[in-house]
């Protein structure tokens, strides 16, 4: 048999795999394996779709026992075809796909699309079947889409390939759509068709056993037909690779925006965990960080996905965020203004010249300030005058045209007017012809002219905001992680010597100290006399904290005594603590107490880290207390990070204004928090054995005064040798 032994080399090292991807989208010949004669079945419909999509190459049906399919000569086996075959589409049942792939190898096929289901998604037997077909493809340099997918569509007229079982070939466009879900694809195609949206490429990649979203994104980056890439993902298997690939695509020369939906936002991803970070850093929260770090615009719905995509695909990027609104209805104009402001867009202030033009062409009752209200009885001429005037104003970066259908509103004429203005404009324009039936003709005119249209003005503002996110991302300077100074050897001496599990508090504090965190003087004291002696030396008020391997949450068992003003108070607290802990945890082995000075009050900050199986070390920042407990107001980033990323984490929490000095309090030493995040970033990057880490709280004082670690928990994983 021609199938080679599975290669140990990574798929990407397979020679010619990138060239093979070309065969997925632009094959010179396609064979469909397993075609039937029964319309309405996947095998027949795929063959029929290719045949009826004006495919520019040669199509071969492989259908044992049949002379022809739809008058096209059929072959019993792929290997009987005399000519070369670039792409094979497998629609056989899963249990014969391996056999069919062997024929593909013998025939020298460059790429395969495996439509068939019955692989990883059905359980262990399917998973091992999938593993085998992947090995065959990897070993032979075959690019594979699927299995368990809808197929691939390329609308490029030079190819015109619909190798899918979607009902219709979509219109040509400049938006590419990649989806892990096949069923969603058909819904999206139908939705887009209704909105007059076309595609450059359309790919359902199913179980992504072969080509992944990363390979496809790379391909689309170079695809001249594609301007905007849309991605629907159900699972992320390699977040770091996605960041690396997406950054290359979304920045620099030839940058293309990527918009994505990642489902599972509300899944029960946040498992119960001993640490705050563990419970807050569910898959979705980390995905959010991955997408942000990758420059991917994450959206919540298909509606938003296409709303933003058409703005990016059809309109030039604005030079700024200042919006002008032209409307024939005051209420929607105000609503749009509110939405724009809420979304962070600027509202343009017109020049005197623009105001004069508007005054001259609009009735006295019209509002010539932004939003420009051309009044309910406005016809096309009034709209035209207003649109021309505001677009000519240098203080306007983009325009939103709102229309409500009054009896005298010449809707289609106004749409044609917008089209005319749009054809000359160098600034982005969006429209909202509000309603459904009366405005339908106008909307058709706008959509046919590639002018983004939104049923609600708020949606237009949202789309314009996403455009601003793209611009902001492109302008954001690249940042290298910053290597803060640290005594790595001192930390290693502790971490490397310990088994999996929680570090004792004094050990955890020592690790932080080695990495430059501000840690107050402390000592693990085995008895009360030693505790008093140490407290007398460092001064009062003092703090006592129980140290026991059975006690993780010290406050829960009354294992913390704060603000002890004297030796007597310390002795009393020690006695009560021992009794209290034994009462709650009778079998607790008490190793002693940590004694340290009471840290002056400050802003309570939580810093955390978690090693995620998919994403590696992740960092968390939040304000302590209610902000984290109730509002879950935290931000995440993948380590390592630099100062700018650290500052973004800090500023992105909703309660950031608290740190700036809300309600008369002194602004917090944000620089100290930033430095702590950088230290944490290096610590968890240096030590892969750190599974979870919580600094809760880090008490931060006013600007220039720094802060100090008040409590820390570090859990190590089971690997005994650091990587």
């Amino acid at each position: 048999m021609a199938v080679q032994a599975p290669s140990q080399k990574a798929r990407k090292d397979s020679p010619g795999i990138s060239g093979a991807i070309e065969a997925v989208f632009s094959p010179r010949s396609v064979a469909v394996l397993g075609v039937t004669r029964t319309p309405g079945t996947v095998p027949y419909d795929i063959f029929h779709n290719i045949l009826s999509s004006s495919y520019s190459g040669v199509l071969y049906p492989v259908a044992p026992g049949k002379r022809s399919i739809d008058s096209v000569r059929a072959y019993r086996y792929l290997t009987e075809i005399e000519d070369e075959v670039d792409l094979a589409v497998l629609v056989f049942p899963a249990n014969v796909c391996e056999k069919a792939l062997e024929h593909c190898v013998q025939k020298g096929v460059k790429a395969v699309i495996i439509i068939s289901a019955g692989f990883r998604e059905v359980g262990p037997q399917g998973a091992s079947r999938e593993k085998r077909i992947k090995e065959i493809c990897d070993a032979n340099g075959i690019a594979m889409i699927g299995p368990n997918c809808l197929g691939v569509i390329n609308t490029d007229p030079a190819v015109s390939l619909n190798a899918s079982f979607a009902r219709k070939m979509p219109a040509k466009g400049h938006i590419a759509f990649l989806s892990q879900s096949g069923a969603l694809c058909t819904a999206v195609l139908d939705y887009a068709r209704g909105k007059g949206i076309g595609f450059s490429k359309f790919v359902s990649f199913g179980n992504k056993a072969g080509l992944t979203e990363m390979d496809l994104l790379e391909y689309l980056h170079d695809d001249e037909q594609t301007d905007v890439i849309l991605l629907y993902l159900e699972e992320l298997r390699n977040g770091r690779e996605l960041i690396e690939v997406a950054r290359r695509i979304t920045r620099g020369a030839g940058a293309k925006p990527i918009l994505a939906i990642k489902s599972g936002r509300t899944a029960q991803g946040a498992r119960a965990a001993a640490s705050h970070t563990g419970s807050l850093a569910g898959e979705d929260a980390i995905c959010e960080a991955v997408f942000r770090d990758a420059g991917i615009i994450r959206v919540a719905s298909i509606e938003e996905l296409f709303n933003s995509a058409i703005m990016l695909a059809y309109q030039p990027l604005p030079k700024g965020d200042r919006l002008a609104i032209v409307t024939n209805a005051g209420g929607p104009g105000v609503m749009a203004t509110d939405a724009a402001v809420r979304s962070g867009l600027g509202i343009a202030h017109f020049s005197d010249e623009t105001a004069a033009k508007l005054r001259a062409s609009l009735p006295a009752a019209a509002n010539i300030k932004n939003p420009v209200d051309v009044i309910g009885d406005a016809r096309c001429d009034r709209y035209m005058a207003a649109m021309e005037a505001v677009l000519a104003d240098p203080a306007v970066d983009q325009m939103l045209v709102i229309l409500t259908p009054q009896s005298m509103t010449d809707i289609e004429d106004i749409a044609r007017g917008v089209r005319e203005v749009h054809s000359r404009a160098e600034k982005p324009i969006a429209c909202s012809f509000m309603g459904a039936c009366d405005v339908a003709g106008g909307i058709d005119i706008l959509q046919a002219a590639y002018i983004p249209h939104y049923i609600l003005p708020e949606w237009a503002c949202r789309a314009m905001t996403d455009v601003q996110r793209v611009i902001k991302w492109r302008c954001q300077p690249e940042e290298e992680p910053q290597a803060v100074p640290a005594d790595q050897a001192a930390a290693a001496a502790i971490i490397d010597s310990l088994p999996a599990g929680y570090l004792r508090e004094d050990q955890a504090l020592a690790v932080l100290k080695a990495y430059g965190f501000s840690v107050p003087d402390y000592r693990l004291c085995r008895g009360v006399d030693e505790a008093v002696e140490f407290a007398d030396r460092i001064g009062y008020p003092a703090v006592l904290r129980i140290v026991s391997p059975q006690v993780v949450h010290k406050f829960d068992v009354k294992g913390v005594a704060l603000n002890l003003q004297s030796a007597k108070a310390l002795r009393d607290a020690h006695r009560d603590m021992m009794a209290g802990v034994h009462a709650v945890v009778p079998d607790a082995t008490i190793e002693g107490v940590i004694v340290r000075r009471m840290i002056p009050p400050g802003h309570e900050i939580i810093l955390g880290a978690k090693r995620d199986a998919v994403f590696g070390p992740t960092l968390m920042f939040g304000l302590g207390g209610l902000f984290v407990e109730v509002f879950k107001d935290v931000t995440f980033a993948l380590a390592p990070i630099g100062p700018a990323a650290a500052m973004r984490m800090i500023r992105d929490v909703k309660a950031y204004s608290v740190l700036e000095g809300a309600r008369g309090t002194a602004p917090a030493d944000v620089e100290a928090i930033c430095q702590s995040l950088l230290r944490l970033s290096r610590l968890v990057t240096d030590f892969p054995r750190i599974a979870e880490l919580d600094i809760n709280p880090l008490l931060v004082w006013p600007v220039g005064q720094g802060g100090a670690v008040a409590d820390v928990r570090i859990r190590l994983n089971g690997e005994t040798q650091p990587q």
Binding site: T36, P93, N95
Partner: protein
């Protein structure tokens, strides 16, 4: 009934149901990959074998049989 007779009668049913020539049907022929059986025809094949041999087969197990040779072995357990 000997295996030769079972095989001849299996081939006859296969040719009738799938509309293929007898010379295409070999013991190693896979019903789907080599003979082009569609999913609905797989059920027709099972029904055809039951009628031909006057037997009542476990349908789930019968549908899992992939080749003509395996079908002969499977049916012989019921016939003999």
């Amino acid at each position: 009934m000997d295996n030769k007779e079972i095989q001849n009668r299996v081939v006859k049913v296969v040719c009738d149901v799938l509309g293929v020539d007898g010379e295409m049907v070999m013991p190693e022929s896979n019903f789907v990959f080599d003979l082009g059986a569609e999913s609905s025809q797989s059920i027709q094949l099972v029904a055809g074998f039951e009628e031909e041999f006057s037997i009542d087969m476990d349908n789930e197990a019968a549908l899992a049989v992939q080749t003509v040779g395996d079908a002969v072995v499977f049916i012989s357990k019921y016939v003999n």
